[in-house]
């Protein structure tokens, strides 16, 4: 393997053109650096890497300090079976019909930026977790952008869970979010109520192959997958402005990945497959 197999400097300024030209039969991981538009984009196969591992590899390549993520430990084996059965019955709640139409073949990508200090302030005020607050703020914007007829969303929150191999180091906590109950406290309560489902979900759908898990998730038809990724505030000499994750093939109608950049910016990039959803102009709240 040589440098050119994994790295390319380009004049292309359009990220999506780079993605479309990517030959996924030839490459599993490839880095493109655009000198004209000052970005580096990394295209990686989700079949062999999960988000945490991809983030780690990207940081190593780009000379950034790596982020230490601590995975959730599994409960003792005798409880796992119970969680699996419990989750199996709880999943019936998520088989209800979605109120969203997945009608875009190519996702519409939209970026918003929240203030980390504000998320922390609200979290502290309500005594809830950072991801719960970020998710609530994000979903409020989503509900605002959707017709009033959409009264609930099936939301899957991804969590990092210990795994013996490099695949599938995640599970999910599924929650139903009502339009009128979308506060950080409401989201946190729902997460707490369903938190053991992350173990059950893992037991029910676990496999060494991430792609199989993804196809199983698809049968449950999530409206939104929300991922809040941990990061440090290092921007380096090249003044890192933002990190955005694009998901072109998500099973969810809306895939959102939030990640910190710098001291106070929490960028959430949305991959939206629902027509006519326009999130408000990127700004901090």
């Amino acid at each position: 393997m040589k440098l050119g197999d994994i790295f390319e400097v380009t004049d292309e300024t359009d990220i999506h053109k780079i993605f479309n030209a990517f030959d996924r039969r030839k490459y599993l991981y490839r880095i493109y650096a655009s000198t004209k538009s000052q970005f580096v984009c990394i295209i990686w196969s989700h079949a062999i890497l999960d988000g945490i591992t991809a983030q780690y590899g990207s940081y190593i390549m780009l000379g950034k300090n790596v982020v230490t993520n601590i995975p959730i430990e599994h409960p003792p084996s005798f409880i796992r079976g119970f969680y699996a059965v419990d989750t199996f019955f709880k999943l019936s709640e998520f088989l209800c019909n979605s109120q969203l139409q997945k009608n875009l073949d190519v996702p519409d990508f939209q970026t918003m930026c929240l203030s980390i200090n504000e998320i922390k302030r609200v979290s502290k005020q309500n005594k809830v977790s950072f991801p719960a607050t970020a998710c609530a703020m994000y979903l409020s914007r989503i509900f605002d952008a959707l017709p009033e007829s959409v009264s609930f969303l099936k939301v899957f929150i991804s969590v990092y869970i210990k795994n013996s191999n490099r695949f599938n180091n995640y599970s999910i906590i599924p929650i139903i979010v009502q339009r009128c109950k979308c506060s950080p406290l409401d989201i946190n309560t729902s997460i707490s109520k369903n938190k053991t489902m992350l173990f059950g979900f893992y037991e029910l759908f676990r496999t060494s192959l991430l792609t199989n898990v993804k196809s199983q998730i698809d049968t449950l038809k999530p409206d939104v997958i929300f991922a809040s990724m941990k990061n440090n505030d290092e921007i380096g000499d090249a003044k890192l402005n933002r990190i955005l994750v694009y998901n072109y093939t998500s099973s969810a109608k809306i895939y959102a990945c939030g990640i910190q950049t710098g001291a106070d910016n929490f960028y959430i990039n949305s991959s939206i497959r629902v027509a006519n959803v326009s999130l408000s102009t990127p700004l901090k709240i």
Binding site: V40, C41, H46, I70, R166, T211
Partner: protein, 70 residues
């Protein structure tokens, strides 16, 4: 720390990369993701650093070097 290769996993450097008999390059659900790092300043320094780090990583198998896992 290194992972032990899965029993049914062929080495990633082979012409055909398979896991459990499926060629991962051909799975629809294994379509690629894209992560973009946008910079305000000149990224030539980052490019050179990236090249250097890649060459360094080529000294050991890329995928198997997973020392971030505790």
């Amino acid at each position: 720390m290194e992972y032990i290769l899965e029993q049914f996993e062929t080495p990633i450097t082979n012409d055909v990369f398979q896991l459990y008999g499926e060629d991962l390059r051909c799975l629809d659900s294994g379509k690629p993701m894209l992560t973009a790092f946008h910079y305000d300043a000149d990224i030539n320094y980052t490019i050179e650093l990236c090249k250097k780090n890649i060459n360094k990583k080529f000294a050991v198998p890329l995928i198997r070097n997973c020392d971030h896992i505790p």
